[in-house]
């Protein structure tokens, strides 16, 4: 379920409640945020392979905006995402929205239970098989129909993995392709998505094609998840950027199921870089190392994190340590501590970089490290 607000209206009380309610009912909810353009919503629906797209509008501009979203969805070649609308929708407009292809309209006072009942009665369309050879553009862009295909492929991998034949094909085709994979790890709230959000436009400027896999935790009890990283990252709908949210069950070391298969497929689609944002879980995070070229460990001042990471042996797996939110007090002390730590005799001499609004040069340094620029 992808939830988003289109247009200028930023009243998000309702959509946030629905997001949490559906998460607690066991759904994987991707929160797309406010002020989304119809094109950005359609691209997100493709990338996330959404069964449902829920739009919330309280501004009365639904008859202008919803048709634009439906058109944008169709333009991407997306046949399977079903559109729902919530908010202040007069009765006569409800009928007109249905005629446009909206499958459900929910007004003020709708309970979460009513929405869940509605969704359960209409299980999403069955996944058809995907032919990997169709539609993959060997050029240098993920064209929009391919965005739908790629989104769908990642879902197939999430749901059960690719066939051995397909994997073999992918392995063969991978030869010669250089997709570099970067992991961003650190505890919850350290600012991993914000950092990536600041890196994306800089990478696009360098004409890099970037895929982001944003992992968020999944509830072990309901199986639901609330994936909120897109909001910070969605850099408009630049065709060079592809963002996918992934729900990670607990006990999986902070990375998604079958990450290696996802990386194969992304390489096949010709991305220059894949940024994997892991769930900040702590000790188990070392597993990410096997899948990626470089590991960026984020720490923030005054959090006591450094000590925890040191205990977990994480300082050892980092290729670069980023002091994020370096505008906060305590950044200097943390930097001193870290430099002492990583420059001990026998250690690898890991670079330490400060990043934050007041030090944009830190972002450039990380980018140079990623792209291998001097």
């Amino acid at each position: 379920m992808l939830l988003a607000k289109v247009g200028l209206d930023g009243h998000d009380r309702g959509i946030k409640i629905v997001a949490r309610g559906l998460r607690d009912a066991g759904y994987h909810v991707i929160y797309g945020g406010i002020w989304q353009s119809p094109d950005a919503v359609a691209a997100a629906a493709a990338e996330e392979d959404a069964d449902w797209l829920g739009l919330s509008l309280l501004s009365g501009a639904h008859m202008t905006l919803v048709p634009r979203v439906i058109d944008a969805l169709r333009a991407t070649g997306n046949q399977h995402t079903e559109c729902l609308v919530g908010g202040i929708i007069p009765k006569e407009d409800t009928e007109r929205l249905r005629q446009l292809g909206v499958c459900g309209v929910f007004g003020p006072g709708t309970s979460i239970a009513e929405i869940v009942d509605f969704l359960r009665q209409r299980s999403p369309q069955q996944t058809e098989t995907v032919d990997l050879t169709s539609g993959v553009d060997s050029g240098d862009r993920v064209a929009l129909p391919d965005r739908v295909l790629l989104g769908r492929l990642l879902s197939l991998i999430e749901q059960g993995g690719l066939s051995a034949t397909m994997l073999n094909d992918l392995h063969r085709q991978r030869a010669g392709k250089t997709t570099r994979v970067m992991a961003f790890t650190g505890s919850a709230g350290v600012g991993k998505s914000s950092l990536i959000a600041n890196l994306l436009p800089r990478l696009v400027q360098r004409d890099q094609r970037v895929a982001v896999l944003a992992c968020d935790p999944q509830s072990p009890i309901t199986g639901g998840a609330l994936l909120g990283d897109r909001v910070r990252m969605s850099a408009g709908s630049d065709e060079r950027v592809f963002i996918r949210s992934l729900a990670v069950p607990s006990g999986q070391q902070g990375i998604a199921h079958r990450l290696d298969q996802m990386l194969l497929v992304l390489a096949h689609f010709g991305f220059d870089l894949v940024l994997v944002e892991s769930v900040g879980v702590g000790q188990g995070d070392v597993a990410i190392r096997q899948h990626v070229d470089r590991v960026y460990l984020l720490l923030q001042p005054e959090s006591g994190d450094a000590i925890q990471w040191e205990k977990a042996g994480l300082l050892e797996i980092a290729d670069m340590i980023v002091i994020n939110k370096c505008d906060l007090p305590g950044a200097d002390r943390l930097e001193t501590e870290l430099r002492e730590q990583v420059n001990l005799p026998g250690s690898r001499g890991v670079p330490v970089v400060r990043a934050g609004q007041s030090e944009p040069s830190g972002w450039d340094e990380i980018i140079r490290d990623m792209t291998g620029e001097q």
């Binding site: 409640i17 009365g60 006072g109 239970a113 609330l226």
Partner: protein
């Protein structure tokens, strides 16, 4: 079709709670007031700490201002509605702007499509401002403007237009909301990042303190925090914390506290829970007075007095049996008046369906008039003062707010707490808990969860004029044709320069208004220096 009406008359099983989920005792007594000093904490009306009201005679001396919020389409249609409201006995104006204007976009911006003149009036240039208040004596009628991110720009338009019409700006009375912090907490109508945004708020305070002395420079707003789903005590605490931040930042500019504090005003929600709301207003006055006198050392009693506008809770209204909203609004208005508000907007019954019709707007105004003229609650000051329940709840509210102030300080102050999402998390948690309580049947809503009617009579609704958008686009095109491009460019450069040097941008804004620069152009000039703030996470 048979209607099934049932009402819950048996006692509820769990302990009753307020709308905000705070447990309410079966009975309150003097034992609940052990921590309250009757003279120091409650005192008398018109005396510090003003728990019982800021005026000795309260509504016996003067009624609250009945100030209904209005605006739609182009400036001409809104001007017409203003005149109707004044004819029907309204005593002040309150201006609703459309979403593009609130978001500092011009009507011809591609992002404005479908939103122009829909939820309020479209204002692009100073010319629209001239039409908006045409024929209204701005030295007699006080005008309120609900605008935040581009508040300084709209205020500059207002002043330039008033001067052009020959009014003396020193005589202008009114209020501009100009409260950007609650946009970051709750309403999401921000443009620049928090720090320069607050800088603009202070620019306006500083300029108006000098040149428009009768103007209320900020309307520090809890209303939207509550609408986003906060509890009553969060609304109270976050609003006063915002006020505290504006005071600190204005003091840093070198203004003396007693020069600007008397012109800070507040804006609270009037929700369903009458006792909780009355307690909230009384606690707000006590907290602010103490803060101003004890922490900021204000000497002038005018600096200690918390003056507030109230609006009934939009979020409490439903589209089922919409006429029932009339009744909700009446009780909420009663709470605001028993709490001692200085001005009041009562929502219309069709609020959840569309912009109000003239019929609905008239009934909303009549609700206030009945309250003022027929109920007798205006005859005595703070009639609920001294009630064990009210005084105990007021005191609890004060303590709750103080503990929130400490949490904000621990988070590193206002801006740090915004960055870490503290306010948004608190509000979203409360909103979700409230919804869950409704879904579980613990909180009841007439016409929605109980007393449901299968067949409802639909209301007549306000029709949005489909041509308003194109009329506004035509107006804007004409203004752009007639103005001097060079003058506009020069005035925008002056705005950039002022912003770059960290000067007060207000004089440059007034000049830009006169050249007929648009809201969007001026905003873009400032954004080159200040940057823009993107959407924030949940």
């Amino acid at each position: 079709m048979a209607t099934t009406l049932h009402s819950q008359t048996s006692a509820p099983r769990q302990q009753p709670t307020t709308v905000s989920g705070v447990a309410v005792k079966q009975v309150y007594s003097d034992a609940d007031l052990s921590q309250v000093d009757v003279h120091q904490d409650i005192g008398n009306p018109g005396r510090y700490p003003y728990t019982r009201g800021i005026h000795e005679t309260m509504y016996r001396g003067r009624l609250w201002t009945m100030r209904q919020f209005a605006g739609f389409g182009t400036a001409s249609e809104t001007n017409e509605r203003f005149r109707v409201l004044l004819r029907k006995g309204q005593t002040g104006l309150s201006t609703a702007f459309d979403l593009p204007t609130l978001m500092a976009l011009d009507s011809d911006d591609p992002k404005s499509g479908g939103e122009v003149g829909r939820l309020g009036v479209a204002i692009d240039t100073m010319d629209d401002m001239l039409v908006l208040y045409d024929g209204i004596d701005l030295e007699k009628i006080s005008v309120s403007m609900t605008i935040n991110a581009p508040a300084a720009i709209l205020m500059a338009f207002y002043l330039a237009a008033a001067q052009e019409r020959g009014f003396d700006v020193r005589e202008l009375r009114g209020t501009i909301q100009n409260d950007i912090l609650k946009e970051f907490h709750a309403q999401n109508e921000f443009v620049f990042p928090p720090e320069p945004s607050v800088g603009l708020v202070v620019d306006l305070i500083e300029y108006c303190t000098d040149c428009v002395p009768r103007w209320n420079t900020v309307s520090i707003s809890g209303y939207h925090i509550r609408e986003a789903g906060s509890t009553a005590s969060q609304e109270l605490a976050f609003t006063l914390a915002d006020g505290r931040h504006y005071v600190e930042q204005t003091l840093r500019r070198g203004l003396a506290i007693d020069r600007f504090a008397p012109r800070l005003s507040f804006f609270f929600n009037a929700h369903n829970d009458l006792l909780e709301e009355v307690s909230k207003y009384r606690a707000a006055r006590r907290l602010w007075a103490t803060l101003m006198r004890e922490s900021f050392h204000a000497q002038d009693p005018a600096s200690w007095k918390l003056r507030f506008h109230a609006q009934t809770a939009g979020c409490s209204l439903y589209d089922k049996q919409p006429q029932v909203n009339l009744i909700r609004v009446a009780y909420q208005a009663m709470a605001a008046v028993l709490g001692g508000c200085q001005s009041l907007h009562t929502n219309c019954m069709d609020e959840t369906l569309a912009l109000p019709t003239e019929h609905a707007a008239t009934l909303a105004l009549r609700t206030q008039q009945v309250l003022a003229l027929e109920t007798g609650v205006t005859n005595t000051v703070d009639p609920l003062g001294g009630s064990y329940a009210i005084e105990s709840m007021t005191d609890a509210m004060v303590r709750e707010a103080r503990s929130y102030f400490e949490k904000i300080d621990q988070a590193g102050g206002m801006l740090a707490a915004i960055q870490t999402g503290f306010f948004r998390r608190e509000i979203a948690d409360a909103a979700y808990q409230y919804q869950t309580a409704i879904d579980r049947g613990e909180k009841k809503i007439v016409g929605v969860t109980d007393c449901v009617e299968p067949d409802e009579q639909p209301l007549e609704l306000h029709e949005v004029d489909p041509m308003a958008e194109s009329r506004q686009l035509e107006r804007l095109r004409r203004v752009k044709q007639q103005r001097s491009r060079d003058e506009v460019q020069r005035s925008l450069q002056a705005v950039r320069d002022a912003a770059r040097c960290g000067e007060n941008v207000f004089p440059a804004l007034i000049q830009a208004a006169r050249t007929r620069a648009t809201v969007g152009e001026i905003t873009a000039a400032m954004a080159e220096i200040f940057g823009r703030q993107g959407a924030r996470q949940m």
